[in-house]
Structure formats: structure tokens, C-alpha cells
Symmetry: C2
Subunit: 350 residues, 2 copies
């Protein structure tokens, strides 16, 4: 026998469907073309119109759906974006996630959730495994090495709502200093001089900057913030709740309390309710974020609107841009906050 031709690894003669999922080979066989032609037809590459129809008909008949895994491997793209969130039960992140997801879905991307854990290395590994084309970080602490690491691995990333000191990746944040100044100015204007605050964690940019702007603006007006009327807590409902109770029970009970976000503020409003404290007659409470819930009648919370939807959509935009062009210049977009006056603020009781 003469020398065998090198055996084809897999030509048209591939085994007929082995019961597994339908592949492009199955479609090719039925349509009487080769697998690459199926690939091209499915994605709108150039094929003759008549061929395209044959392929699509065959695909339809077999219920063929191109495999994500195969496509990802070949294209090095997953059309999936990771969103890292610390606590999904925080309603603010929910609103962020919703707006973010909506924009990405329009662009044909899916969202995969990652929980922020203490173990940044483990998280980084998960993110680096190639399961996502880009990453949005929403719950960073200031000292996080994550943005840096993403940049080094050339994995597109965007910081949403919070930021770090360095500008390693694109960022979209509210001008937290300016926003909290608005609150201070409002309180001063209303005549408050005994002021308290429930700040967020100092190791977050929002926690730090909202405290900074607030303190600065008060200081400029000669108003001091008594330590006994201040708390620094995690951004949770329970923390806001407990912090407010501590503040109103302190010997330096203020006439107004600024809460560094609406989750805290709503916790505080609930605490006030539990003590029979009327807002704004007995106490003024102002929040930050303007969550959807804050406008509900039972709260009707005066707060700082930062345009959560806009922020999320902008972040999505930044991320999509970077996925397309990894070498685009790094940008930092700041949205302008605005005070929304509702009914939890008023002049201090004489």
C-alpha cells in the first residue's frame, strides 16, 4: 500500500451528531456546506445570499446556537462584563447595577456578578480567568490594588461611584466634596449651628470626600462639628439607624444630621421614627445619593442627587470604549451633584 495521506483531523466526515449539543458541523452537514461557511453565515460575514438562507434554515431546523465557549476561545472575547459589588442588598448598588446592565445589554454584553471579598488576590484571579471582557468596580476602598492589577493585566476596568488615589483606570464619580458642601450650606442657611453627621468609612473615597466637603464648608462658616455628634460607620441601614440613636442620645445632640448616603439616612429616619422624633420639626436629616426610595412619601428625604443612572451609563460607556480600544487615554468623569430639597430639613427649633 502506498503511503497513507495524512489523516484529516476532522473534515466533513466527522462523526454524525453524537447526541451532544448541536454544533456548526452538524449544521454544515445538513446545509451541504463546510463548517467555516456556517460560521460566516451565522455572523453575517460575506456568503452568497442563497447559501446564507440554506444555512440559516438548517440551523433553525436543528435548533443550533453557536457555543459561547468555542467563540470565546477563538475570538478572545466573551461579551461578558464583570461587576464587582460588595453588598447587593444595598439599594444604591442595585440602582447602579440596573442602569449599568441596561446600557451593556444594548451593546450586546451580559453581566456577571462578583462579590467583593477581603481576598483581593482571589478576586483578581477570578476576574483574570478570561470570563469577562471588562470589569466594573463599585465598592473599592482607597488602598485597593485592584485597579492597578487590572491595568497591569490589560483587563479593561472602570471605577464606578468610588475611586482610589491613583488614576490607573477610567473612573466615573460624583463630585463628593462639592455635593457635601451643598448640604453644609443648606444647613447653615436654615440656621443650624449644632450639627452632627454620620459619615461613611474613611477608607472609601465617598466616605472621605463627603466628610471633607462637609467639614470644610462648616468650618468656613465658623461652625464646628462636635465629635460626640459624629459617627463613622459602614454604609448599611443598621449602621445609620444605630448611629442616629447614639447621636440624639449624646449630650451634644445636634439639630441637624448629615448622613453620607441615603442608605444611612433612611436608617436614620427609621430610627427617628422609632423614637418619635418628628422630621424636620425636631431634627433635620439630609442624605446623599437620591435613591429612588428616598422620594417615597414615608421618607421624602432631602438629599443630594448625583444622577446615579447617568453615572452608571457613563461608566458603561467608558468601559465599552476601553474594551474596543485598550490603549485609549484614561479618563476621569465627574458628575455634578445637586441638592434636592424635600421635607426632612427645616430650621432648628428655636
Amino acid at each position: 500500500m502506498a503511503e497513507q495521506p495524512i489523516p484529516r483531523k476532522r473534515a466533513q466526515g466527522r462523526l454524525p451528531s453524537k447526541g451532544g449539543p448541536v454544533t456548526s458541523y452538524d449544521v454544515a452537514r445538513l446545509a451541504g456546506v463546510t463548517q467555516p461557511t456556517v460560521s460566516r453565515a451565522m455572523r453575517g460575514d460575506r456568503v452568497a445570499e442563497i447559501t446564507r438562507l440554506r444555512v440559516l434554515a438548517a440551523a433553525e431546523q436543528l435548533g443550533y446556537v453557536p457555543s459561547d465557549a468555542g467563540r470565546s476561545l477563538a475570538t478572545r472575547r466573551t461579551n461578558r462584563i464583570g461587576v464587582v459589588v460588595a453588598d447587593l442588598r444595598n439599594h444604591f448598588y442595585l440602582e447602579v447595577l440596573t442602569a449599568f446592565e441596561r446600557r451593556l445589554a444594548e451593546a450586546g454584553f451580559q453581566v456577571t456578578l462578583f462579590r467583593q471579598t477581603d481576598d483581593e488576590d482571589a478576586l483578581l484571579s477570578q476576574l483574570s480567568a478570561g470570563g469577562v471582557d471588562g470589569v466594573a468596580l463599585t465598592s473599592l476602598t482607597l488602598d485597593s490594588r485592584l485597579p492597578r492589577a487590572l491595568r497591569e493585566r490589560r483587563l479593561p476596568g472602570v471605577l464606578l461611584n468610588r475611586e482610589t488615589g491613583r488614576l490607573d483606570v477610567d473612573v466615573c464619580v460624583s463630585d463628593n466634596v462639592a455635593g457635601s458642601r451643598l448640604v453644609a450650606e443648606r444647613l447653615l442657611e436654615l440656621g443650624h449651628r449644632k450639627v452632627g453627621a454620620v459619615f461613611g468609612p474613611a477608607d472609601t473615597s465617598t466616605g472621605r470626600d463627603r466628610a471633607l466637603g462637609f467639614r470644610e464648608a462648616l468650618a468656613e462658616a465658623g461652625v464646628a462639628l462636635h465629635p460626640a455628634a459624629c459617627r463613622e460607620v459602614e454604609y448599611t441601614h443598621a449602621s445609620g439607624h444605630d448611629a442616629l440613636l447614639g447621636i440624639v442620645d449624646s449630650p451634644h445632640r445636634p439639630t441637624a444630621v448629615f448622613c453620607a448616603n441615603d442608605v444611612l439616612a433612611i436608617g436614620a429616619v427609621n430610627a427617628a421614627k422609632s423614637r418619635g422624633i418628628s422630621l424636620p420639626e425636631d431634627l433635620t436629616i439630609i442624605g446623599y445619593d437620591d435613591m429612588e426610595m428616598s422620594a417615597w412619601e414615608v421618607f421624602d428625604l432631602t438629599t443630594v442627587r448625583q444622577g446615579t443612572e447617568t453615572m452608571a451609563a457613563t461608566a458603561a460607556e467608558l468601559l465599552l470604549r476601553r474594551v474596543e480600544d485598550p490603549d485609549a487615554e484614561v479618563r476621569r468623569v465627574v458628575v455634578r451633584p445637586e441638592l434636592v430639597i424635600r421635607s426632612t430639613d427645616g430650621p432648628p427649633r428655636p
Copy 2:
């Protein structure tokens, strides 16, 4: 020249790293082993201890992370679960998602979000693309063909919170008939005879069954539900809000209103607040779900607890089981609801 040996597709002689991401071949070269050995070492397959250490050291040095796409293609597993949600802004689904995600994360699975759209075929295609090992459906309508389609494609699925008529896939739901009966019984016990309701969509199992149980129990006591005091609406805050206003403005204003879920109930409580209606003096409102928020002081909502966390965790369990064993018997788990009496219910005003 004699016949060439069949050229190796890719032996150790593979091109040195081409700048792309680090692969198992890169690690193999550095560790002085072959790629399969790297694969085995990384996953804890049997390799000599000394080899494992060499491989891990090389991986560490290169910052190697196994590629999800490659692994998925080879194993036909993604370690990813899809969750289909209609509206992420619904706080109830958020709680479901949180609990579900937590349980899955423990099992090493990630969660990818899919939005329920009108186009079930498109959704099915997305789900079938192999991007996920299983699917949880949370926002089904009764006539959805999705569960059936999943079964046909042998894609593991679980219905969470809502169900369809057929038992095509595993299900975990609350006993909605029993739960709503509890509400009716409570209202009767309090002495209400003029009763209203804000029901959910009749094309959902929760909407249908909660209406059913409620009506039945009232009817057994000889109490009729006047149509003018009833509404059937989407499960949104705004719907609950508007529905309550319509009901209290109707000529048949009831003394108590059952809302088919807490999202509706909280909308209703807000509406009551906006009209200066005191709860429970002027009106009794009872919800269903016992969301976290419902216990807040400003609401303190009497409602039906169905153990959302348990339900989500159970659904996760069912799904994981089916991923492991696609031929396991189909199960339907029903959780027992329980009435949680807080402060929005009371006797009717004499």
C-alpha cells in the same frame, strides 16, 4: 528525502509567549514539564509533590490563571449559572438574588444576569449558547414555554418563586394559597367585612394563587370582595401606590386591603401616607413576602413571611443537584408561609 513524519501540531516547541495572556504552555515551559502536567497540577490531579510545587511556582511567577474559555470548551462546564429576572429594581428579587448568589458562590459558581424580555426565543438562545450550566427563572408567566424548552435542551433549570402549570423542571415556591388564606383569616378575625385587594397579574402563579386563597377564605366566611375595591396590577411600587388611591377613593372604600406582595403593599403604605390615612386606625394593609424593608419602623408592615432566603437557597440546591445529575427526578418544593403581625393591621374603625 524519506517521508516526513506527520508534523506535530504543537509540542513543547511551541512559540515562546507571544505577548498574549499566559497559558498553560508558558507555565509548562518554565517548569520543565508538559502542558497536561500543568493542567493536572493546577487542578489537584495526581502529580508528584515535587512537580506540583515546581508548576505552582512557575504559575505564580508568570501570573498564570487558567482560561475559563479553554476549560469550558474542554469540560463542557462553565461554573456559571444564569438568573433570569424581569426587574432588578424590585427589592424582592434583589433579596432572592442575594441569597441565591451566596449559595452558588459557596459551590464555586458565578451568576450571570439575564433580563426577562418579551422575546422568549431570543432569551432561550442566549441561555442555550452554553454560557451557563443552569438557569434559574424567577419572573415567569404561567404560559411561558421556557421551562419546557430548557428541559428539551437538557439545560438544567429551576423555577424560583413563580411556577407554571406543568412540572417540567424543579420548582421552589411558597404555598401562596395557604399564605393568602392566612391573611383573609386574620382580617376576618379582626372583624373586617368590607375588604379590598391589590392583586398581582393573573398570568403569574403568585398573582393567581394569592388571589385564589384570599377569595376562597373570604367566601367561606360569607364575605364578598367588591370589584370596586379590587385591582389587578403589575408588581411595582407605583402600581401599588396608584391602586390604593383608586380603592380608597371608590364608593366601596374597604376597611382593609390585602396587597399581593410587599412591593405593592409598600407602595400602598406610601399612598396612604400621602393622603394622611393612618394605619391601622383608618385602614388595614397587609402584604406578602416579608421583605427586609417591611420590618423598617416607617412601614412595620404586617405581612406573610415565606422565607425568601430559604426559598432561594433551596432553589440553588435543586439546581446544583440537577447540574450534577441531569436525570434526577423532578421535584417541587413548597415552603410554608407564616403570618407576621406588625402594626399595619387592626380592627376596623367602628
